[in-house]
Symmetry: C2
Subunit: 447 residues, 2 copies
């Protein structure tokens, strides 16, 4: 009885035309990262459990996949190994472990899959690609990198050509300073920011109610609607700095200064103002972020939520080293993004073979001539397939059609004796007879 072949739930396995499209997406991301001089890093899929889960009992741990080999199955203790659930913890471990061999600021990109034991539901993946860049400084890190990060993302999403998008930037110091001016004491900031992060995902009025419920005095409670109005309805370009400078406190001023430098820095690096907004309502849920924060939205598909998020953090690897390692980074959740783009037909399966040319078997005795021709074309940099079987031409053309190769080459003894080859453009069904010696040039012209 055969076993039913199937994948586990929560993974995205693609057929070749979609896989080609996905690979092009990842290649574009990688090229975008390299364009700014970032270095590649890959880490093992599993880490020692003790190293991965330095903060025990968190939400994340509940989703961790543990790994154990057959021999260890019966022991019952927490397994020694666990799959990474993001690329940030492995980066922290990597930088702390190799600190003395790295050049700082350390600029790395990492494109790998991560694993989360999510409850199975649509749009939730248990295995998905993350594409991360981070710049890690030693002791300090220039704000110039906070401006570079959105410029990198702008380049990549522009090249991906998946529609108009907006990178929204904010600063958590600025938010904390604002909260102070609205009467919120420092210990409550984290809770309020956590609620503010719901803006855009939940009705504004509901967010106001939830925040008001946290207030311990009436004046603060009264001010919540005004606070949220300021965050959501302020101008989304440099005019906002004037609004903010009208208020005053040290943290706010520091946040505004930073945001202003990041905004102008991003514009100087070529991000058009239409794709780069100051959005005071972006809070990011994680307390990990301490300054600049980013989110990215497709203008015509706001429901997707942020497709690329990140920010500045004070110290990357406090669990692993006493060195202070501030950083700034951003992450593209490529699997989720690709799945959504596919579903909305914003990205298409690649309806083309990897092969650009298919050499058909017109006469089996000419096998060596086909091999020689294919070798010549490959040496010229073309991707070439030779039809393997000795099937009738009709069957060969059917294969060519199904595999979406653009050009087929027909070379029989008539053509060989005349010193020509016949190129059939399968996209237009036109045929071209060209001299054997010009075949590379002619094919390049047709592609």
């Amino acid at each position: 009885m055969p076993v039913q072949p199937r994948t586990p739930p929560g993974v995205l396995e693609l057929l070749p035309p979609q896989q080609l499209a996905f690979q092009r997406m990842l290649d574009t991301v990688r090229r975008g990262f390299e364009r700014f001089g970032f270095l590649p890093v890959e880490t093992p899929v599993f880490e020692l459990t003790e190293v991965l889960l330095t903060k025990s009992g968190g939400e994340t741990e509940k989703q961790v996949y543990f790994v154990q080999s057959t021999g260890a199955l019966k022991q019952g203790d927490t397994p020694e190994l666990a799959l990474r659930f993001d690329l940030t913890v492995p980066l922290a471990r990597y930088v702390a472990q190799h600190e003395h061999q790295l050049v700082f600021p350390f600029r790395r990109y990492q494109i790998q899959r991560v694993y989360r034991g999510e409850r199975a539901q649509k749009g939730r993946f248990r295995e998905f690609y993350q594409c991360d860049i981070d710049v890690i400084g030693k002791d300090s890190l220039s704000l110039a990198y906070d401006a570079e990060v959105p410029a990198i993302i702008y380049g990549i999403f522009t090249e991906l050509a998946i529609g108009k998008f907006t990178i929204r930037v904010n600063n958590r110091k600025l938010l904390r300073g604002l909260l102070e001016t609205f009467g919120w004491p420092e210990p409550q900031h984290a809770a309020v920011l956590h609620e503010l992060d719901r803006l855009g995902k939940m009705e504004r009025a509901e967010v106001v109610t939830r925040i008001a419920a946290l207030a311990t005095d009436d004046a603060t409670k009264q001010g919540v609607a005004k606070l949220v109005e300021l965050l959501v309805d302020s101008p989304r370009d440099q005019r906002v700095f004037e609004v903010l400078r009208a208020r005053d406190n040290a943290t706010l001023r520091e946040g505004v200064d930073e945001l202003e430098r990041v905004y102008h820095g991003g514009i100087a690096l070529g991000i058009p103002a239409a794709s780069f907004e100051i959005d005071l309502s972006i809070a990011r849920g994680l307390d990990y972020y301490t300054g600049t924060v980013y989110e990215t939205f497709l203008d015509e598909h706001p429901k997707l939520g942020s497709i690329c998020s990140g920010g500045r953090y004070e110290n990357l690897a406090g669990h692993y080293t006493k060195s202070k390692l501030p950083g700034v980074g951003i992450s593209i959740g490529a699997t989720r993004l690709f799945a959504q783009l596919l579903e909305m037909n914003l990205i298409g399966a690649v309806h083309a073979a990897v092969a650009q040319v298919l050499v058909l078997q017109v006469e089996s005795a000419l096998g060596p001539a086909y091999a020689e021709l294919a070798t010549e074309l490959r040496a010229a940099g073309l991707n070439v397939e030779v039809y393997g079987g000795e099937d009738k031409l009709a069957k060969q053309f059917k294969y060519a059609d199904r595999s979406k190769v653009p050009l087929a080459i027909l070379l029989g003894s008539r053509e060989r004796d005349a010193g020509i080859v016949k190129i059939k453009d399968l996209r237009t069904t036109t045929e071209h007879e060209v001299p054997r010696s010009e075949v590379v040039t002619q094919i390049r012209g047709l592609l």
Copy 2:
């Protein structure tokens, strides 16, 4: 107390210069596969245990890593998920699952990591890359693909430039036929082939003794030395076919015919005879292979053993489908190969940054000019880094030196006013003053 940052044993984690070299290797492999028109496939890192382990109790299962999320830890049953231990079982599952959406012959490549719970020892990896290609037919598959596989490998190893190598080819039908002529009954063939696979790893005399011990009659036992001599000492090019045709039986004849076609096919596809040997002593341990078999050796480092092996199999996915799916494929164990090449200094760390140009911060007021220049260079396809901090030039040059970027750009107000930029070639320490408008061309010339 910080946790000591460290990777689990049995993984290969690289510093950026080595990672760059490894990435180039994988890119070369991928380009080599695509040159022949193969399609990319990726499968999830874990499979359902029931699907992955269709043959229970084998050697492989002892090395399988099981995966379970925190919630499932206490149950004690065999976990539902397991990490793939090769790319062949996932391919079989993939082809069976998607059979009706694939075009046959299905030509796929897959470059992913696989996992084995190996005992920790030098050179044994628990996580390693495999780079596989396979051509899968439906019901039948032309022998032309058996000739194509070594041609692909020849192209890749040539481009990798890791020294002279030899692809050795043999045929298991031929071996079985030969065994018959030496008196071995069919049921013993698998055991003898298993011993023959030790040739090259063990002294010839010892292999002879081990095989002789299997013989049940004296004539067969006496013939073992002669058999091994024939396998090891026969000519390694087409002259061997004459030797083999002197013996006779149906299986042998079929094997010789196949091997002859594969050999001449490979030569026709451009493999020089010096890199392509018929080696009758190649047996491959796995009974899975039924015809052509391949191994690949670095001529100057035979101790490494085969760095790329594979062969023809009769039926890929018998556990998952009733369709008959014959195939031929080969696999490069990239992690092990890379680790060995590194150790022997046959491949070097890449002593160059990803960035080709580093724009230095000569005057902080000129930040926007640096951003504009970098954006212009990136638009021209160059990988460009802008130094982020406002450090002294000496510190910036130290960074440039350590990060191995070839060119630095100096642009102060003097240069700006004169409409020039200064390019410093850090490899030669020569400086070039060039007009601002010619900077792209000049940089291209220097690189």
